[in-house]
């Protein structure tokens, strides 16, 4: 077997996690792109993961149907949740949606049917690398067709000035709710994929820190286009692997170093790269042009 093949086999699971994290980053971007900071997505992911796990453990449904259910289940929750909370703006929406995430997590901790805090184990591994990336490609395709469409422009206008958007005839409530539900479905399907890749689901995997991770992926990658969040997810997920070797060579434990570097990168991006690392090539091009002009 070639060395490239070996490399691929060694890192197959990391590459799979990059795909799952990219989906999660996109799920946060779905609401961010119309200016809504929603942090309910760890909760939606949990609903999707548990729905998928239960279906696989208790029915003989094909995996495609299970994945579809993992997208639909959180979407069903997102409608009645979104209608009231999307009236809130900015930080208030963030707080309300964090509340939802915690409610889901605590409900799962106390639900005997799913083994409470221990969660469900021995889920068959049904998600392959290609399934994960197929779902990711479909999600990216949807975002790419949305951009530049009538609805895509409506979403951007809501982000820029919601009041003006309303007087342009845009039903902002419907648009925001649709993206909230779409984000919930993406988070849910990512949860379903992860459950069938790591063999288990447990409430502790869907806490507040999980949704912060998703937000960090999106912000580090850049939220000006839909390509930013997946790039950020890839960067932040691959980083620990790179750091592992680096940390060992200087005698540091990988855990703390990883947290430190992740935090530093987030800070640097927020301060110096407001459009995320996806804007770096453009930035370099601009610098080169300025230099050529002299």
């Amino acid at each position: 077997m070639s060395t490239l093949g070996d490399l691929f086999l060694t890192y197959q699971s990391v590459i799979s996690f990059v795909g799952i994290d990219a989906l999660l980053a996109l799920s946060v971007y779905a609401t961010l792109c119309c200016g809504q900071l929603s942090l309910a997505n760890a909760g939606f992911m949990a609903i999707g993961a548990y729905a998928a796990a239960l279906l696989t453990l208790h029915t003989k449904l094909p995996f495609a149907a299970v994945l579809l259910a993992s997208a639909l289940a959180p979407a069903v929750f997102a409608v009645p949740l979104g209608l009231p909370v999307l009236r809130l703006r900015g930080i208030f929406l963030a707080i309300a949606t964090i509340g939802f995430g915690e409610v889901v997590r605590l409900a799962l901790v106390n639900w005997d049917y799913t083994n409470g805090a221990l969660g469900l184990v021995a889920i068959p591994q049904r998600a392959q690398l290609w399934t994960i990336y197929l779902v990711l490609v479909i999600a990216l395709f949807l975002f790419s067709r949305l951009r530049g469409s009538k609805i895509g422009y409506a979403l951007e206008s809501i982000r820029e000035d919601e009041t003006a958007a309303r007087t342009m005839g845009i039903n902002t409530t419907l648009a925001k709710l649709s993206m909230f539900v779409f984000g919930a479905a993406l988070a849910g399907v990512a949860g379903g994929l992860e459950a069938h890749f790591t063999f288990m689901v447990a409430p502790s995997g869907y806490g507040f820190s999980r949704v912060v991770d998703m937000l960090v992926y999106a912000v580090v990658g850049g939220v000006a286009t839909y390509l930013g969040p997946p790039v950020g997810a890839a960067f932040m997920t691959l980083l620990p692997e790179v750091l592992r070797g680096l940390g060992e060579s200087v005698g540091l434990a990988p855990g703390p170093l990883r947290l430190f570097v992740s935090g530093a990168i987030l800070l640097a991006v927020v301060l110096f790269l407001p459009n995320g690392i996806i804007s770096l090539p453009l930035l370099f091009a601009a610098v080169r042009m300025r230099r050529e002009r002299g």
């Binding site: 409506a154 206008s157 003006a164 007087t167 005839g169 845009i170 039903n171």
Partner: protein, 252 residues
């Protein structure tokens, strides 16, 4: 009557910003709305476009009550507006701002675009061409690719007018469209307003530039402290003692 306000009131706490106001705008008319600062002109536009609900009274558009509808529903009935303090979408390009304005007239559904159907492509091209034509009309075609936040004040005002026209409105509400413009720009906006009215759009013009209002409007309503103090043709308004008192003060 295209637009008819009847006994419209709106109070903020104890302040009656709009107090039992009645007037009407005819189809195809350029109707001026003037008054001293704080007279309630902008509040009135917010009531008509649905951003505020009246405390009492009725607003009718072509005999249909609109005072309990949401802003996007009122826009769908053919009311479009600009803002006194310019509300363009700052990060979007001038062309994209106008494309958002076309939201109501674009029909191709998203699924057609998902499957790359030719209908969607043609509709996008048509929308873009219309937007460019509108930018041309307000003299902003060369700046179509510039982001709204980098445009000058006068340029932003003109793009905002183009965006408001993009929905092909029956009634166009302009809130001080010439504020901050130089004399040449004011003349071109005046010509544009006349042209727009000639094409069948009615215009309700809120303006501090009294000369412009006297010049382009066929009918003028004067507000003071939320009440209509005069309503009529420009010549009559200019000689109305109540209007002169409101603007210059009483002798005693």
């Amino acid at each position: 009557m295209l637009l008819a306000l009847d006994g419209v009131e709106r109070a903020f706490g104890g302040v009656r910003a709009v107090d039992c106001t009645s007037f009407a705008v005819r189809e195809g008319e350029i109707h001026g709305l003037i008054g001293p600062n704080g007279a309630g002109k902008t509040t009135l536009l917010n009531l008509i476009s649905g951003l505020l609900r009246p405390s009492s009274g009725s607003i009718k558009l072509a005999d249909r009550r609109i005072d309990s509808l949401a802003p996007h529903q009122i826009a769908a009935l053919g009311v479009s507006r600009t803002y006194q303090n310019i509300r363009l979408f700052p990060a979007l390009r001038a062309l994209e701002n106008v494309l958002v304005g076309e939201h109501l007239v674009r029909r191709a559904p998203l699924w057609k675009r998902l499957f790359f159907l030719p209908g969607a492509r043609a509709e996008e091209q048509a929308a873009r061409t219309r937007a460019l034509t509108l930018l041309e009309r307000v003299g902003m075609r060369e700046r179509a690719g510039a982001r709204a936040q980098y445009l000058s004040y006068g340029e932003q005002r003109r793009v905002e007018i183009a965006r408001a026209l993009a929905s092909n409105p029956r009634l166009l509400l302009l809130d001080e469209p010439t504020a901050g413009m130089n004399a040449a720009e004011v003349t071109s906006v005046a010509a544009l307003i006349r042209q727009v009215a000639k094409e069948g759009h009615s215009v309700l013009l809120v303006e501090h530039n009294v000369r412009l209002v006297m010049d382009v409007c066929e009918q003028i309503t004067v507000l003071n402290f939320g009440k209509v103090i005069a309503d009529g043709a420009p010549q009559a308004i200019a000689q109305d003692p109540a209007v002169i008192a409101a603007y210059l003060g009483n002798e005693d």
